[in-house]
């Protein structure tokens, strides 16, 4: 699965590539990530809390939640992926225009979370079984600070350097 994803990514590369201008473009993309409103379950409430007044995603340019996949950059999968929902998730991923990334928020999106037990029939165990994921945020639900750290990690992946200080647990 890994090599095939790399190959798919390479085919999407643009005709003309620059060095400095690409860095500028990536800096612009990193600081204006438009997430797709894709709250599935409990993590959606923490995502809304992250977007609301106290944890304010607007400080990182990511507060514009676009309902339509055509205008979204990053798909924050916040909640449990159900087998009945899997085809819809893949459809939404396909319909997002290219520079797109995926943040798997919460244990359910990472590995099926608390709903994995012998004889389970309805949960897809992890969203990376459907398409490649860029950032994993553990937690059930993860705190809004963890979501913000996830977005900063994605920005670091885009621009290569980290603009915000890393909070050390005292």
């Amino acid at each position: 699965m890994e090599a095939q994803d790399e190959q798919l990514l390479k085919d999407c590369a643009p005709f003309v590539r620059f060095s400095k201008l690409d860095e500028l473009l990536n800096l612009g993309r990193a600081n204006s990530l438009w997430p797709l409103t894709f709250g599935l379950a409990c993590c959606a409430i923490e995502m809304m809390a992250a977007g609301a007044s106290r944890f304010d995603l607007a400080r990182f340019g990511a507060e514009v939640f676009r309902p339509s996949p055509r205008q979204a950059d990053v798909m924050i999968v916040a909640g449990t992926i159900n087998k009945k929902m899997a085809s819809a998730v893949k459809t939404l991923y396909d319909q997002m225009p290219e520079p797109k990334w995926v943040i798997a928020m919460g244990n359910c999106a990472i590995s099926g979370g608390p709903f994995v037990f012998p004889g389970q029939y309805a949960v897809v165990e992890g969203v990376d079984k459907l398409f490649p994921v860029d950032v994993f945020i553990p937690g059930c639900p993860p705190r809004p600070e963890a979501l913000i750290e996830g977005i900063l990690k994605l920005e670091e992946k885009l621009t290569g350097k980290r603009r915000w200080p890393v909070v050390k647990p005292e």
Partner: protein, 131 residues
């Protein structure tokens, strides 16, 4: 000085053309060639993650058309207002005649809303056989 004007006009048209076609070419070069898809649903039009059911080529109710007409009426209205706005109040001796002309122009055009209101366009009245 015919040729001077000619140069000016052709330059203006060329700039317009470049302004229109330029982004299309630029985007084609810079943006990604195609998007990764895992269920090749990229070209499908978006309907909340589901496959659209049925066909969109059906007979809609006429209210949509009337709504569009009201929009077109005011689009044309703005079209005439732009040149007026450029020379508004430039000619001193006409005093504030411009303002009243504008008022009359917009007043007449706002009759469109009155007409549409009476026809029930804004209440989305359903025109079916029985009603």
């Amino acid at each position: 000085m015919l040729s001077g004007d000619l140069v000016y006009v052709s330059a203006f048209c060329l700039a317009g053309l470049v302004f229109a076609l330029g982004p299309i070419v630029l985007v084609h070069l810079i943006s990604a060639r195609k998007t990764r898809n895992y269920a090749n649903k990229t070209r499908q039009y978006v309907e909340c993650g589901m496959d659209p059911i049925g066909d969109a080529w059906i007979r809609y109710s006429a209210v949509y058309y009337l709504y569009a007409l009201v929009f077109v009426a005011f689009a044309v209205d703005v079209l005439y207002l732009i040149p007026v706005a450029v020379v508004y109040n430039r000619i001193k001796e006409l005093g504030n005649r411009d303002f009243f002309e504008l008022l009359i122009f917009v007043g007449i055009l706002s009759l469109v809303i009155v007409y549409a209101w009476k026809k029930g366009v804004f209440e989305w009245k359903r025109k079916t056989n029985n009603s």
